[in-house]
Subunit: 342 residues, 2 copies
């Protein structure tokens, strides 16, 4: 069911005013502010209709109206036009992306912080774990008599490293050699399949160095455990301090806690996120703790896995801006990551 033109216009006016001021908006004020060619009384009639339809609600009888969650949903689905980045923002973005960037985790964090700056909401980027990447190179660099640094390079250019203990009898050259054998045998293997497949061949070839093999494998195992979870980059969580709906300390604390704990944040996100920008408003969120917030999320392609990028803010959110910005940055992430990073 779609609204006639006048009702749409009124709904939109109310949404924009309410998003801006966080106050219920009255009939008179929107007529004035948006130069509508109708009287306040007419607007009141329309508002009564919109309320009956469920798009507006009144905090109390003698107050103005505020958009209901259903109202926001209708707006987002049927009326919203995503607002893209303006020139100065684009320029800022390009400046950021042209700065010295060593690895793609830098790109992610910079884009995240840009997102929160532009929208004034908290932003997050979920980066899928690298568990499906392949080995590319393994090196063992001696540090001291008994220790060495194990380096594992994956095909997407991620470098893992860990200190290991080695028998003092083993020489630096031999360590290098062992590294090379590892590289030759394992190169191209999925990180997670490593244990099962080529292990036997490896044992065979280095049979007199079983100890070192085991140490290395164990270290690899530990490193892998360290990257099992998708990593989360959060920016601008303090933006919610500016929203009047969170003047309540308890609410505030709940939200900030979620924003501080990666695990919690991952739990609240909608399971299915496609490439399209996905908006969940208030109660549409499955997690109890954020039923007073809205999410704007999109998926991006992170070396074949689905990553997520988005913002979290009050229900009274500038969805047009948030959706447009998230979409743009999703595309840029896709684009940047599609040039394989080595």
């Amino acid at each position: 069911m779609t609204l006639d033109k006048r009702k749409s216009q009124i709904l939109e006016s109310i949404i924009r005013d309410y998003v801006e001021t966080a106050e219920p908006v009255g009939s008179r004020s929107i007529v004035k502010k948006h130069n509508l060619k109708i009287s306040a009384a007419t607007v009141r009639n329309e508002m009564a209709d919109l309320e009956e339809m469920g798009y507006l609600e009144q905090p109390h009888t003698s107050a103005g109206r505020i958009p209901s969650q259903v109202g926001f949903r209708y707006y987002v689905d049927c009326m919203m036009q995503k607002e893209t980045l303006d020139d100065s923002e684009l320029e800022l973005l390009h400046r950021i992306l042209n700065e010295n960037i060593g690895e793609w985790s830098d790109v992610v964090s910079k884009i995240g912080s840009f997102l929160s700056q532009v929208t004034n909401y908290a932003s997050f980027v979920i980066v899928p774990s690298i568990k499906l990447s392949e080995f590319k190179d393994i090196q063992i660099i001696p540090l001291s008599e008994r220790t060495a640094m194990l380096l594992v390079l994956t095909d997407i250019g991620v470098l893992l490293h860990r200190k290991i203990e080695v028998p003092p009898t083993i020489s630096g050259e031999e360590l290098q050699l062992i590294g090379r054998v590892f590289t030759r045998v394992l190169s191209g293997t999925k990180l997670e399949e490593m244990r099962r497949n080529e292990l036997k061949a490896l044992r065979e070839e280095l049979r007199n160095r079983r100890k070192v093999i085991d140490t290395v494998l164990e270290a690899v195992d530990i490193m892998m455990q360290g990257c099992q979870d998708d990593s989360v980059v959060i920016s601008g969580s303090l933006n919610i301090l500016n929203e009047p709906e969170f003047k309540d300390l308890d609410k505030l604390k709940r939200i900030l806690t979620i924003l501080e704990e990666d695990v919690l944040l991952k739990q609240i996100l909608p399971d299915m996120v496609g490439e399209e920008v996905n908006i969940t408003i208030g109660n549409e969120n499955k997690a109890e703790d954020i039923k007073e917030m809205s999410l704007v999320v999109a998926g991006y392609n992170n070396f074949g896995e689905m990553g997520k990028i988005g913002v979290i803010g009050p229900i009274r959110m500038e969805y047009w801006k948030a959706a447009g910005t998230v979409e743009s940055l999703r595309n840029i992430l896709d684009q940047v990551l599609s040039k394989k990073y080595y």
Copy 2:
């Protein structure tokens, strides 16, 4: 000037009650609570004295007393006994330290988070930049036709890495060779002195690979810029949400902003921090923004440079606990870092 025994006892009682409840404490209540053998009236007389001396103050005539900042200072200087970690806390700490720890930055962040957990204040650890460390090993691992991964290992076991572009004409073996020459010539050089000293020798030896040398040097330069600043690890900043003195949103925001921005946090710390635990109370802090907070900081020895570890909390702080815990963890950090980490 020191207080007589009874005044001390009263001051301490007031401090402990006030720290616990955040409410002004009255004469009657401390007599009851601490089973003092004197009457409330006597206590009132003593309190009047203490107020005159500047150790106590009254929010208004008909309220109890609260310790003034001078009062806290006197307590800290002349009466406080640092409270060390209890058994369960020690056990927790050891469990944490025995978990898998790959490199010392893990130690730092774990100790930081332990500190904030135990004290219930926000904790910070300042880790000096590694600019004074020495090269230990340089490796160049080919990634693709035109790119390679540059690895720089320092003597304290920190690994820097960065992707570089290499001419497609150069072979993997040659890259390795170049890495080895770098290692041989530069090993033992301070990172920051690199440019000046052995550069000529290097250019000499690899004169037909000038391009690659420059690329590598440039990359090293960029990596060094990335570690020029001391890094900061903050934990438990949300603890301040529990303190009633920060129910005011503006205050809260100021503080949280400081705790989110490394740079700001570094600015507010006292310049001179010795190995001893250093306490600055309220207005004793130079920075305007934290004149309503207290700092408990100690320096630790981070591979020859001075690092800092401490907590930041309300003036109404459990100084005894904070000071004891900071001291213990300072020592542990010293101890852990003194076994050179390779």
